[in-house]
């Protein structure tokens, strides 16, 4: 049995769920597990879902529960089951700030996600242009000092302009 009310309702642990989503999730579980059902239902699950619904039915309650979840690392997080919303990485509670290299490593690890949530097509087009220019240069002036310079310029252009096509990093 999980002590995460979001998990009890099969919802992602997000503070910005709307009332209707929470109510629909509870109705779905309650209809399947209510003890009045001919098959006896599932009292334990029904009880857990109902308690979770009581906790999560208002925006304030969700905000509170979310805050508690993030404040206590012992609580678990469910992965997003809603394809219409962005997934959320597991939140951590208050604790020592990670060392700078770890922060940087985390930022690097997040780049694929930032690309996915940004404008990947534009990024691909920019990358293709930079690559095409570089290849054309290598083909037209191989071994000339201008070749590495132009490739540097194309890379720099890609990095400077492509940044805006990435989703903002966490914390921004």
């Amino acid at each position: 049995m999980t002590n995460d009310p979001f998990a009890a309702l099969g919802l992602p642990a997000r503070p910005d769920l709307d009332d209707e989503t929470v109510r629909a999730a509870w109705r779905h579980i309650a209809a399947a597990t209510h003890p009045d059902r001919p098959d006896g239902g599932d009292l334990a699950r029904y009880t857990a879902a109902s308690a979770a619904y009581a906790q999560l039915r208002t925006p304030w309650g969700r905000s509170e529960t979310y805050a508690d979840l993030t404040a206590h690392p012992g609580y678990g997080h469910q992965p997003s089951g809603d394809p219409g919303t962005a997934p959320m990485p597991a939140a951590t509670g208050p604790g020592p700030r990670p060392a700078l290299p770890l922060t940087r490593l985390y930022a690097i690890l997040m780049i694929p996600e930032r690309i996915r949530h940004g404008r990947p097509l534009r990024l691909v087009i920019r990358g293709a242009i930079a690559a095409a220019v570089s290849l054309a240069v290598l083909r037209a002036i191989p071994g000339q000092p201008a070749a590495p310079a132009i490739i540097t310029g194309a890379t720099l252009w890609f990095l400077l302009t492509g940044r805006s096509d990435l989703a903002p990093p966490p914390g921004r």
Binding site: H34, A54, Q144
Partner: protein, 623 residues
């Protein structure tokens, strides 16, 4: 001299002048063709600036950034060449080689060989030419028609707006927080006096001072304010991680209504995304305790919240204040709730508390005012009853990371005014109380004019300034900023965090505060119906923030005025990172206690009370 001779001389002089001019142009054309790679890149840079409405600074920065190419080129060339002469002559050799056999592939090769040098040089030259063009057009010395300065400006404005809109459409261009704790607000359309940056940012410290936002309904004021709140919160959270005080955002939505709920929910979602853990919406979902205020301040507040009137009423006002002070500062401690205060407002209780032999003056006051105490109790009961239970606790301002207070200023102005007074006092208490954790506080009042009858915004400002609280005030118009011009000017003139103007039909007073700048105006002499080539140029002063431009601002466009300079920008819609942010982490602070929400009556948390009808609704078919 005969007429014929004079005519010949005149024609000869004209021809010489024209020949010199033509020779000059031909020389220039020959030079342009000779250095064609540079010409090509200069033309490209110039055309880009013209089409996108860039300022020359944009091209200069592009030239500076492309110097990296030049550096790599020089390093690579230095590795190949053994003498300095060979190194310096290499580009000239490459250029000269391209002229031996002029073919398309060879021209392409020559162009590529020179790119590391021609890109920075070409962009720098384009910046110079573009700056000269802007100067010549705006000062009236260029252009085919007398109207050239206006048409040029209007065309460039359209292009600048289009470029700014495209810029803010990129997901990562305008995050909630930029480097060096600056708050990005939107894409820059035009900067006058401020340094131009593609994305306009303000320092987070500006939000911690005083800021004024003026804009008509539907012009995107809410977007701007929410962006500033989220940006400030993100910046302050980052500062908190480095040991600074935790942020506390207090928003007073003084107009209320259903729109306020929508706005509150949007603010909450964004703040959660920005790392806020507890965002409380008052009075719908959370309560506060008015009784946390220190007893003496509480007495003054209760007195101020009561409409006491003028003239003879002043006598009763004094009695009211005296009794409230006695009730709040009684030796047994301050009241803990409305019921507790009302219980104290009778002479029996007050005498019981004060008549201990040590407080003769207080006892005498109670005796003197005894016949008025029931009236005072009635007034207090009415006042606190109208305020509702949401200020009767439990709950503390510091329990949450952000509070969104909805005051029904349109529907119940007098109640909202009293609530605003109480909430402002609670914020002041949170800022100054030595017993609570120090917090970085931003107090934002949206449409404060709805409740400013009894608490002028200037008071709010002055209190905020003295307590170190950032105060942000918005109004729908200049007139809505205060009761009279004196107060309006006092508010606008002390907005050291800057003034935001959105579409408003009367921007003149604020524009005057922004000041003027010097421009050159050229008058041309008319020769008949034609525009002659003689005239005068004189220096004139024009507004830094053009009021006509402000009147014509579209939805989402704003003008930021600060330090005698103005920046027009396209405000970006605030969105948190879709990667969902981690909550604010404060190493040394324990997680704050859960603020007490209003007790919910339904549904009962006891799961056993849920029935099948709750699930399917009444009368739903069963199998």
């Amino acid at each position: 001299m005969s007429i014929w001779s004079w005519l010949k001389l005149t024609i000869a002089l004209w021809l010489i002048r024209k020949a010199f001019k033509a020779a000059g142009w031909l020389l220039l054309a020959a030079l342009a063709v000779a250095v064609w790679p540079l010409t090509l890149l200069t033309a490209t840079g110039y055309a880009a600036a013209w089409l996108r409405g860039w300022p020359p600074a944009r091209l200069t920065r592009a030239a500076a950034a492309s110097l990296a190419m030049t550096a790599v080129y020089l390093l690579a060339d230095a590795a190949r060449q053994h003498t300095w002469q060979a190194l310096t002559m290499a580009p000239a050799r490459d250029w000269a080689h391209g002229w031996h056999h002029v073919t398309a592939p060879l021209a392409w090769r020559t162009f590529l060989l020179l790119v590391p040098l021609t890109v920075p040089a070409g962009f720098a030259l384009a910046a110079l030419l573009w700056a000269w063009r802007i100067y010549a057009i705006t000062s009236g010395t260029a252009g085919l028609l007398a109207s050239a300065p206006y048409t040029f400006d209007a065309r460039q404005w359209k292009r600048q707006v289009r470029a700014a809109r495209n810029r803010v459409a990129a997901p990562g261009a305008v995050p909630l927080l930029a480097a060096r704790r600056r708050i990005p607000v939107g894409g820059t359309i035009r900067a006058i006096g401020h340094r131009w940056h593609p994305v306009f940012t303000i320092p987070a410290a500006a939000c911690a001072r005083h800021m004024v936002i003026i804009g008509a309904t539907g012009c995107g004021k809410t977007n701007l304010m929410i962006r500033l709140w989220a940006g400030w919160y993100t910046a302050a959270s980052a500062a908190a991680r480095d040991g600074g005080p935790r942020p506390l955002l207090v928003v007073l939505d003084c107009k209320g209504g259903p729109d306020a709920r929508t706005k509150a929910n949007r603010t909450r979602r964004l703040l959660h995304g920005a790392g806020a853990r507890r965002v409380a919406i008052w009075p719908d979902e959370a309560r506060l305790s008015l009784w946390d205020i220190p007893p003496a301040d509480l007495a003054v507040l209760l007195y101020q919240m009561t409409d006491t009137g003028q003239g003879n009423a002043a006598y009763y006002a004094d009695i009211l204040q005296a009794i409230l002070t006695l009730a709040c500062t009684a030796p047994g401690g301050p009241p803990a709730s409305t019921a507790d205060l009302l219980q104290r407002l009778n002479d029996g209780w007050l005498l019981g508390a004060w008549d201990d032999g040590y407080h003769p003056a207080e006892t005498a006051t109670i005796h003197a005012a005894a016949r008025h105490i029931p009236d005072i109790a009635l007034r207090m009961s009415t006042l606190l009853g109208r305020l509702g239970p949401a200020l009767d606790g439990p709950g503390h301002l510091t329990d949450a990371d952000a509070w969104y207070f909805i005051l029904e200023g349109t529907r119940e102005p007098s109640v909202a005014e009293a609530q605003a007074m109480a909430l402002t006092e609670l914020a002041a208490h949170a800022a100054t109380s030595p017993r609570t954790e120090p917090r970085a506080i931003l107090l934002a009042a949206d449409d404060y004019s709805a409740v400013s009858r009894r608490v002028p915004i200037s008071n709010l400002y002055e209190r905020g300034r003295s307590l170190g609280i950032g105060v942000q005030v918005s109004a729908q118009s200049w007139q809505g900023l205060g009761a009279d011009d004196d107060e309006r000017y006092r508010i606008a003139a002390t907005a050291d965090g800057g003034i935001w103007l959105m579409h408003t039909p009367y921007p003149q007073p604020v524009v005057e505060l922004a000041g003027t700048r010097r421009v050159l105006a050229t008058a041309h002499k008319l020769t008949g119906a034609a525009w002659g080539d003689e005239g005068t140029t004189r220096e004139q002063r024009t507004w830094v923030a053009d009021p006509d431009l402000i009147r014509r601002l579209k939805v989402g466009q704003a003008c930021y005025i600060s330090h005698g300079a103005a920046t027009f920008l396209q405000v970006a819609r605030p969105q948190p990172s879709p990667l969902t942010l981690l909550p604010a982490r404060v190493p040394s602070q324990p997680a704050p206690r859960v603020p007490a929400p209003r007790r919910e009556t339904t549904p009962n948390p006891d799961p056993g009370l849920f029935t099948f009808d709750d699930v399917f609704g009444p009368g739903a078919p069963r199998d």
